[in-house]
Homo-oligomer: 207 residues x 2
């Protein structure tokens, strides 16, 4: 509508649902959608780059930043620490970029507590069998770790009721299209265009 601060989109869902793939695809296809790079203490997986996939830091540095109040959210998942830098997100939104946070359900809950500006999207697998296969197919975990990941995923599904939108990760392109539509629609919301509408309507009272 008019030039304004970018949206804050929270993309979450159970472990293994494919949040990362969807997020990367969205950002690759759209110059104005950016994934805020998270901070983590976990070991980089093969091919992951520091500052691109994550900011990889040690626990000492992580705790320092946490104590400085630099995080929009932080969480421990499977023994590793993850966080989103508030300043990084604000910097991108001020540049009129829509910032997408790809975070687990714990992190999403924290963001919801710290701001009501987020648009919360829950990514669902097409079915539970598919989710199991994805967790298995990742091939980075031992059988017991996979079992735990799957049990966690089942619990995480219960969080869907706290979200605004639900998108099924049937195919990447379908899910990406749904999210693009959600972003476009949210930009058309009357409540997001108050300033522009007030000047257009002239004497609108804006209630």
């Amino acid at each position: 509508m008019t030039k304004s601060k970018g949206l804050l989109i929270i993309l979450s869902g159970p472990s293994g649902v494919g949040k990362g793939t969807i997020c990367r695809s969205l950002c690759r296809e759209n110059d104005t959608i950016v994934c805020a790079t998270s901070l983590t203490t976990r070991t980089p997986r093969r091919g992951e780059q520091d500052g691109v996939d994550y900011f990889f830091v040690d626990e000492k540095k992580f705790c320092e930043l946490k104590d400085q109040g630099s995080f929009l959210e932080w969480a421990e998942v499977h023994g590793n620490l993850y966080a989103t830098l508030t300043g990084e997100v604000e910097r991108l939104r001020q540049k009129e970029c829509d910032v997408i946070l790809e975070i687990d359900v714990q992190g999403a809950a924290q963001v919801r507590r710290s701001t009501d500006e987020g648009i919360c999207i829950f990514l669902l697998p097409p079915n539970m069998e598919e989710l199991w296969q994805r967790i298995e197919g990742r091939g980075t975990d031992k059988p017991e770790a996979m079992q735990e990941r799957f049990r966690n995923a089942r619990r995480e599904l219960m969080e869907v009721w706290q979200y605004d939108y639900v998108v099924i990760n049937n195919t990447v392109s379908e899910a990406v299209n749904d999210i693009k539509s959600i972003i476009m629609a949210e930009k058309c919301r009357v409540e997001r265009n108050k300033q522009f509408l007030k000047s257009f309507v002239g004497k609108g009272d804006g209630h």
Copy 2:
């Protein structure tokens, strides 16, 4: 997401903004979006067909139907009566069609009073000069009638605050795309997928 009742979309906006063009274009491009045919007592314009553009009826028939409670909304605009048949809308929604009502702001207000199921979209002209040109360009009215139409349009703009979404009719294709995104996004709303999500999540409490 799952097969379910179609959406009810209310497309409104000031007189002359181009609601009809957008509505026809949407329905032409999408098999599942249908415009509910309205009832009117006004004289058909050149090229308009009964049962396609409108159901053209006389005032006696109109009042009969009104007294039977058959209308979702009705209104008098520039001396003519218009109405939307509740049964017609329900019939289409049950067939999983998204029903779009192209109605003036008075009619939209009435629909909002009779149901909270409608998604309200306000169509804006790119600017007021453009709106005047469109009213003039229509060429069906006398100068005084055009002046009145324009004054009404200015008043009608104030209604934008009652709507969920605002779409600018810059070009037909842009406006149509925005509305298609709104429809797609609305179908992803958690609150619209409660039944499906309850069965997916299993023991979800659905609050």
